[in-house]
Amino acid sequence: MTDLDPAMHIRRSPIYRKLLEIGACFVETESGVVATRTSETATIEAEQARHLGLSDLTLCPRAGYKGWAAIDWARELGIIIGEQNNRTYSQSDSTRVVRLSDNEFLIPGELSGSSPAIDMLSSARRLEGVYSVPRADNNCRFVICGNQTPAMVAKLCGVDLRVHRFHEGNVAQTSVARLNAIIIRSDFRDVPAYELIADIASAGYMWNCLMDAMSEFGGCIVGTSALCVLKGT
């Protein structure tokens, strides 16, 4: 375990105290300090995550754009966005771009600390009808993964999220534990994984709800290294 203390950095996740409490180990990335492990070895954690795991990805890069010209503007810049709303579109470098509506898309971010697509868009010339949404600070981002994920989220969300009804890449913008949330299905190879993007001010409350729902199935908190093991990266 390294000594990296998230409280020494100017950018902090709302969940950092809860992660410190369980002895998480942090690494510094371009976008902030992220919990990489919550136990001695990432491989054991990965096995736990295969069953049911929860991870905090709030400080990973994240961006969003909205406006009547936003989708066209992104397409002009080489971003692939299809016609369907509430759908994920993969880019050539595996970055995911989520189309939320006719006028909005979101880049939820990947596990590594950097995101070329986000950087490219933020430095590109902005047109009328294209407006940035401060997703990195407006929202928290958690991922729930493992075979028990659908059973667990059934305790929190009224949308049918069973794996044969909510497919890879599907997006649901709905209410989770009475909070507005965006749910994105984004499996780690054969392991089901659902991302949750919600109000950052309620991150602590949401985290507690997820922990409570998880306890029935013996889920646990995992770090980003375990997720990378599952992804095979």
């Binding site: 902030g32 406006g67 059934a154 305790k155 009224g158 950052i200």
Partner: protein
């Protein structure tokens, strides 16, 4: 040894004879088996009196063994009103009866039964109210006698939760019809959820005897269960109660401590029918039970229901009951059949056993033991013969099989019609809405083959409705055959009464006749006046006889009388189940933990938590100290909860002009301006500040609790105006602090790249830059009326910002201050708080906000209404006041009244003792003619004292605003 009445293995579907369970009942130790209910274990041990009735405290025992009746409600340590015939035994369970004083067997209040002449139906409407004031005395006495079980305040909270579930076809009821429906629907490709409230699937197949060969039910049940198990797309939920069907096929299923909210595309209701008691004298004695109850005792629990029995029947099921009793060693003294010439295949078998068969006769009374605690015989008389010809048959068990009523409650929930059907001699269901299907004895079919075919038919129709068509044609079932099973009217009035129609409420036949003669002929009124059907059984047994008696008494046809409305829930439900995890969202500032560490007392502000003040000790002096620290030095307050909206696009100015009362076209980039929002009716709804960051970009703040509504309204208006503007709610993305006080500039100037000198950063200016490497927006606004800087940063930097400022200000004594001090400081400056100093009707002229209304714009939301208001005289005004004679201990509270000539003429909206002015100041609504400066008015304190207030010009402190503009 678990009971003298326990039958030998293998009978007893639910019990596990290898696991003995010890429990206590009324202070005595008993043993039962795992799988026993409390009632079955007690019956096995020859313990038949299990509880007492509500009104007359009559001893009661098992009636249905299915939880349909409430004769055996018992008290557990942490739960009252438990159905003894449903609750499973657990090791060490401590059980008591209910409705007695002293002991169950020696109830000191059993004499109440003798008072029945003085407790007629509706007696509490007719007595106990004279002389005047008598009710108060009577009510506490009656309260003591009334009520069922007791709630233990020492009960610890259970963990209850909820979950959502989905299926194509929900089948409610796992009897023959339900099993066949589930199998058919699954065969057609539907995802099926099969729900049954019992531990074992099968419904009546588990206990009923359908023909002479006792094994038929068993075999059919095995076959159906095997087919269900084979199907991968049938999910089975047992011990699960469908407690209500709501809009769009949403079913509430109570499964243990979990409430499952199930959405189905189609529903099959196969909930069966309830065997009905006959109404005759002493029909409530322990030992008098339904034929199906006796069969449940035998087949589910391996308990012999009695030693010598009489079966009272109007259908062939009764003969099956008689055979079952004979086979388990009970003597059957007689089968009394109400029918003159019953024909069925079982009669010859009875002859073999030498059972007396009495046809065309009725049981018209039960005979009780001297203690009144068990049946010891019955009186029987032939049809249409006088009572004098009645003869006795001794017995310790009377099994009644005289008819059924469908368990149609769930169908009533969805609006189906349930009314008396003359041809079937019971209630029948019609007009079932689309998407819901029913099958089996809930539709008055009892023949086993018909029931099964009905199930298949309904299951197929449900699956088809859900989008999974059948391969071929499914035959509709035979019509309802309930007429063969139901006695027309098994109500046998007796000159000595005690023929109970409603067991829960101890209502006899004459009570209902009396209610009708008291004038309550309408079924809904009859119910409420007599309390018929209002007990825990909710009319399961009293509805039908109630309607028949009312029909006879009023001379109106029962199908016209109708039925009382049936609503969810189907059974009682605990509050914990409805609450689940009690999700209560809370929003925290990124600086939240720093406040806790500094000893803040937190208070809710909408969904947010904010520090009210810091420290423990006298609340009011702490607040005054915090306020003085701001005026005399420098204070720091977390304003993260403030609403924030980005308004961007070519039509930004036009949009702001339409949404707010003020004018924004001429606002310069790098400046801020007040925003005031009114609604369509001209009422003030929110305020804030608009910062112009560029030509087409405004960052607009709103109140903490108002921003969500403002955001919603803005989107609604622009959905119609279609202006080229984007509105984004960034309330959570930007957190912030306000550092205020004469020393505030000194704290920040070294930390930021922005020039914060007075000339470069004047009052009302806006700047973007960095503070200690954190990107930030800086504003100078009025706020508390001191030199100050409002600093907004992205939320993930919030805690670091707080740390940097507290550290930088430590040397000069920077003090965190909370919402209460902020309120006090702002009151000193006469700032109004929307929602506290304004109410649901306050318009700008009442609050002296006319200055914020632009006259040059053609339109803004509420402008027309404000114009109309301006033409009228204003009834009231919000004014500032001081109370020179009051001290810091006599500060009026919010909403204390302004009185004039003995009448209310206004109210206080805010008040405080100002430490800097050393007097009580406040805001209040007064009548228009009281509003002149120097005028006095009277405030009434909570304790009845009066205080004099002087109307004062606002602001109270630093009226020229010099301090905030340095």
């Amino acid at each position: 040894m678990t009971g003298v009445n326990r039958l030998d293995a293998p009978v007893g579907l639910l019990i596990d004879r290898t696991q003995q369970i010890n429990f206590r009942f009324e202070g005595q130790d008993y043993q039962g088996f795992k799988g026993d209910s409390i009632a079955s274990a007690l019956c096995a041990n020859d313990r038949w009196v299990i509880s007492r009735s509500f009104k007359y405290h009559r001893p009661r025992g098992v009636l249905t063994m299915a939880g349909y009746d409430s004769n055996t409600l018992v008290q557990l340590d942490h739960e009252p009103n438990v159905h003894a015939d449903k609750m499973m035994l657990s090791e060490g369970l401590n059980v008591l009866g209910q409705n007695y004083s002293g002991s169950l067997d020696q109830d000191r209040r059993s004499w109440l039964g003798h008072l029945s002449a003085f407790l007629p139906v509706g007696f509490y409407y007719k007595a106990f109210y004279k002389p005047r004031g008598a009710w108060r005395l009577w009510s506490s006495l009656i309260r003591n006698y009334a009520g069922l079980g007791k709630v233990s305040l020492a009960t610890t909270q259970e963990y209850s939760d909820k979950s959502y579930a989905f299926c194509d076809v929900a089948v409610i009821g796992g009897g023959c019809a339900g099993l066949r429906a589930a199998i058919q629907a699954a065969n057609q490709g539907a995802e099926v959820t099969l729900i049954d409230e019992n531990t074992a699937l099968g419904g009546a197949l588990c206990y009923a005897r359908t023909n002479s060969a006792e094994s038929e039910s068993k075999e059919i049940r095995q076959t159906l269960l095997a087919k269900v198990a084979e199907q991968e797309n049938i999910l089975v939920l047992t011990n699960a109660v469908a407690n209500g069907i709501y809009s769009d096929n949403w079913v509430a299923v109570i499964h243990g401590r979990r409430l499952v909210k199930l959405r189905a595309k189609a529903i099959v209701v196969a909930t069966g029918a309830m065997e009905q008691p006959a109404v005759f004298r002493n029909n409530d004695l322990p030992g008098v039970m339904m034929g199906s109850a006796a069969q449940r005792l035998i087949r589910l629990y391996g308990v012999r229901p009695g030693r010598s029995a009489v079966v009272f029947t109007s259908n062939n099921f009764g003969y099956g009951v008689a055979l079952d009793l004979l086979e388990c060693g009970t003597t059957v003294e007689a089968v009394v059949d109400t029918r003159e010439n019953p024909t069925n295949s079982l009669t010859p078998l009875l002859k073999e056993y030498d059972v007396k068969l009495v046809t065309g006769a009725n049981v018209i009374a039960g005979i009780s033991t001297p203690k009144g605690d068990h049946v010891m015989g019955v009186e029987v008389v032939a049809q249409n013969r006088p009572l004098t010809e009645a003869f006795r048959i001794s017995c310790d068990l009377l099994c009644v099989s005289t008819g059924f009523v469908p368990s149609s409650q769930l169908l009533s929930h969805v609006g189906a019609n349930v009314a008396y059907d003359r041809s079937l001699a019971t209630f029948a269901v019609s007009d079932i809405p689309s998407g819901i299907f029913a099958a089996g004895s809930v539709l008055n079919r009892h023949n086993l083959r018909t029931v099964g075919d009905d199930g298949t038919y309904a299951g197929s129709a449900a699956a088809t409705f859900a989008g999974y068509k059948a391969a071929g044609n499914i035959q509709p079932p035979d019509p309802p055959d309930a007429a063969e099973y139901n006695h027309r009217s098994p109500i046998f009035e007796h000159p000595s009464g005690r023929e109970f129609v409603d067991f829960d409420e101890d209502l006899e036949v004459h009570d209902l006749r009396d209610a009708v003669s008291d004038g309550y002929e309408q079924i809904e009124l009859l119910k409420r006046y007599s309390t018929l059907g209002m007990g825990p059984s909710q009319g399961r047994h009293s509805s039908l006889p109630g309607v028949l008696i009312a029909s006879e008494s009023t001379g109106r046809d029962p199908s016209i009388l109708g039925r009382t409305t049936v609503r969810p829930p189907y059974t009682g439900v605990k509050f914990g189940t409805l609450a689940g995890r009690s999700f209560e969202p809370v929003r925290l500032s990124p600086m939240h933990y720093r406040h806790l560490e500094a000893g803040a007392k937190m208070m809710p502000a909408g969904l947010w938590m904010r520090p009210a003040y810091y420290g423990s000790g006298n609340r009011d002096s702490i607040i005054r100290e915090e306020a003085l620290s701001v005026r005399n030095g420098v204070g720091l307050i977390d304003v993260s909860t403030l609403g924030g909206l980005e308004i961007r696009g070519p039509d930004s100015v036009e949009f702001l002009n339409r949404m707010y009362t003020f004018s924004y076209a001429k606002q310069q980039v790098g400046r801020s301006r007040y925003v005031l929002m009114t609604d369509r009716s001209g009422v003030i709804v929110d305020d804030g500040v608009a910062c112009r960051l560029s030509d087409n970009h405004f960052y607009v703040t709103a109140t903490t609790s108002g921003v969500q509504g403002v955001y919603q309204e803005m989107l609604w208006y622009n959905a119609q105006w279609q202006l080229s503007v984007d509105v984004t709610n960034v309330t959570a993305a930007w957190c912030g602090v306000n550092i205020a006080g004469p020393l505030s500039r000194d704290v920040i100037k070294a930390l930021t790249n922005v020039d914060v000198s007075s000339s470069s950063f004047p009052y009302m200016a806006v700047r973007e830059g960095f503070i200690a490497d954190i990107p930030a927006r800086f504003m100078r606004v009025g706020f508390v009326g001191e030199l100050g800087f409002e600093i907004h940063v992205p939320s993930t930097y919030g805690e670091a910002l707080w740390d940097v400022l507290m550290d930088a200000g430590k040397a000069i004594g920077i003090t965190p201050f909370g919402v209460e001090a902020q309120r006090l400081l702002r009151l000193e400056k006469g700032h109004i708080i929307i929602g506290q100093d304004t109410d649901g009707l306050t318009h700008p002229y009442e609050a002296d906000m006319a200055w914020a209304i632009s006259r040059k714009k053609p339109y803004f939301v509420g402008s027309r209404s404000i114009e109309i208001q301006a033409k009228r005289s204003t009834a009231r005004k919000l004014v500032g006041f001081v109370m020179p004679d009051a001290d810091k201990d006599s500060v009026p509270e919010e909403c204390q009244l302004v009185v004039r000539d003995g009448d209310i003429s206004g109210r206080v909206t805010s008040a405080a003792f100002s430490p800097i002015l050393e007097k009580v100041i406040g805001l209040a609504y007064v009548e228009f003619d009281q509003a002149k400066v120097e005028n006095t008015f009277t405030i009434k304190f909570a304790d009845g004292r009066f205080g004099i207030a002087h109307v004062t010009a606002l602001p109270f402190f630093d009226p020229e605003g010099k301090r905030q503009e340095v």
